[in-house]
């Protein structure tokens, strides 16, 4: 996925007027803590100051410069919520006078044994900030198409990157058009070499514009027994759990929400009307969680069509994710807990 992001950023600066891709260690020589910004011509290193990063992103946006600002880990964005709020209200507070095109790109979630401060989620916080559009991919092609959508949108946007999926490859048939099918070949073209990089130039494959529309979810698996709605790291786990449960005769429909704001309510409605059961899965802490919003809306609009209580499977309400594997596994949803939740919901009698 990290290469998909890099290719999208390349297209963004070549064809969509992005003037600045910046943040801590975003420029040469490193090209980002996860290599997402290697070899990009408009990438530069900022001071170690998240408030400055978000502030500069807003300022650039106000000056009409499309930009992608990276917060190295979303864990370090929590001293900027006021500035993010400000960005989200620029258009509204000026009664439509100003807009502010800007994209905040930041790795989120668990999965790399990141301990307390490299494992936070940001979806609850982001969805509570009016005025932002929010995307979160679960596969490389979506990452590519979402980032481009964020970049060309005239509004502030969050591009939340599930860091656990950064090394994930495209499923067959889901590649980005134009990328060499062979991973090694792609790596040779656009991954910076180890050692001295001062003379290295990436060879960008010719990839087309591709936009994942805001507010459009994707049904990754069909089923009539229950509906599972997820995004990011937990999405592939939901799909896997659903596949496995098929053997037990449980056919779960799995929806990748993709766009968290605006979100594809119609698709959820259609599915839950059919299944009568819905499980929302994410890994943010479970109190005042975005999945709880989706449950609220579900009971508000679909109460009489539910045959079992709608469920949330999310991260435990604890201050952080502990470093030890045993602690991380017990804190955020994993394949076993997802499987068990789907199974339990499928079996809940009406």
């Amino acid at each position: 996925m990290v290469q998909a992001i890099r290719m999208a950023l390349h297209v963004a600066e070549e064809r969509h007027g992005v003037t600045d891709i910046f943040g801590e260690d975003v420029g040469a020589p490193l090209g980002g803590a996860f290599t997402a910004t290697q070899g990009l011509k408009t990438a530069w290193n900022s001071p170690l100051d998240e408030r400055g990063i978000v502030g500069a992103s807003i300022g650039l946006g106000l000056a009409g410069c499309r930009n992608v600002a990276e917060i190295q880990f979303c864990d370090y964005a929590f001293n900027t919520i006021d500035l993010l709020k400000l960005a989200g209200m620029m258009h509204w507070a000026s009664n439509g006078d100003w807009n502010c095109p800007m994209t905040i790109m930041t790795p989120v979630g668990s999965g790399i044994r990141g301990s307390i401060y490299h494992s936070h989620s940001f979806d609850a916080t982001a969805t509570h900030l009016p005025g932002f559009k929010i995307m979160m991919p679960s596969n490389p092609r979506d990452a590519y198409g979402m980032l481009l959508s964020c970049v060309v949108d005239p509004n502030p946007s969050f591009f939340l990157v599930p860091k656990a999926l950064l090394r994930v490859r495209a499923q067959p048939g889901e590649e980005i058009p134009g990328e060499p099918g062979d991973d090694k070949a792609l790596s040779k073209l656009i991954d910076a070499p180890l050692g001295d990089r001062s003379k290295w130039q990436p060879q960008w494959p010719d990839t087309p514009d591709l936009f994942v529309p805001f507010g459009e979810a994707r049904t990754v698996r069909q089923g009539n027994d229950l509906t599972v709605v997820s995004y990011g790291r937990t999405l592939p786990l939901c799909a896997k759990a659903a596949d496995e449960l098929s053997a037990e005769g449980i056919e779960a429909e799995v929806i990748d929400l993709r766009s968290l704001w605006p979100y594809d309510w119609e698709r959820i409605v259609e599915s839950v009307r059919r299944t009568g059961r819905v499980l929302y899965v994410n890994e943010d802490t479970e109190v005042t969680n975005f999945g709880e919003h989706l449950i609220r809306r579900t009971v508000e609009e679909l109460f009489y069509e539910l045959v079992a209580p709608p469920r949330l499977l999310a991260g435990k309400h604890v201050p952080g994710i502990g470093l030890a594997d045993s602690l991380e596994m017990a804190t955020v949803p994993q394949l076993p807990s997802i499987t068990e939740s789907i199974r339990a919901l499928a079996k809940t009698s009406a």
Partner: protein, 343 residues
Amino acid sequence: MSSLRPVPTSPEAELSPELLVQLHELMVKARVLEERLIQMYKQGDGYFWIGGPGEEAFNVPLGLLIERGQGPQYDYCHFHYRNSGTLLAMGADPVDALRQMKNTATDPYSGGRNFVGHYSKREWNVVPVSSPIEVQYSMAPGTALAQKRAGGRGITIVTGGDAGTAEGDFATCMIWSSRPANPLPVLMIVTNNKWGISTSWAGQHGEKRIADRGKGFGIESKTIDGNDPEIAYREIKAAMEYVRTERKPFLLEALVSRLNGHSSASGANRATDEADCLQGFERRMEERGLLTRARMDELRAQYNTELQAAHRRIKDEPQPDPATITDHIFSEKDLVSEGRGDK
């Protein structure tokens, strides 16, 4: 651009009599506007007042010297809530401030959504003023970066008070503007009135001069008497010239008065222990024979009448329609990019 814009003078030169008269006129206009707004508050025609009486000698010259326009070739303005004099000097219609005071639907700055003094005018690069103290200093490097890249003489101007410099954003602005990799054309202004609401500067600030904080970063800086419009005009002009040509930051601290307290929350009554820049300037104008007391009284009376009439007029303008609260959460068009083209 604007007919108000004066002919350039060299920083050292005496200001021309015409310019002095123009400065005076705008200072009176700004003062009368603030007095009217306070009046509106006291009469219940607005929930809250905050503004800049006492800062006219600084804010008016600032407004006159700003290169007004849209896009990076012009100056970007990141103001705080005491810049009414600056807006007037830039050419704003004072009636619009009354509209914002009365939160009418016709308020061009926020459509009745925001407090008075919270200007927004994309046409003139005036970014939306917001209440949180000091955040403007974190945003300023962004517009300045666009200007540095665009070339030309456009600069970014950011203003705020003394107490607010304790927020990290003030340091952020210095750090981002003085990066050796890419210094930025930011004119950082602090109007030091020695107060943050009820808290005196004296107990809270270890620095002798706020301007000194620039020195550690190699940022040129100066502290000036902001109660004298002639000094202010010359010093702002010199600082701007430095920023425009060197494409580097400058930190300008202006010592000013706070004539009506912090805001309506503290009563908005006239303070007796603060120097009044307008009085001082009028005395000098009279002494030099540039204006007579009668002419000045007449001017004030004229503005007074005008704004009183405006006040009456806007009283009946419609309040915002409640259904509009969800308007403009998202923009359909990229207004700022479309507006970037030079003109």
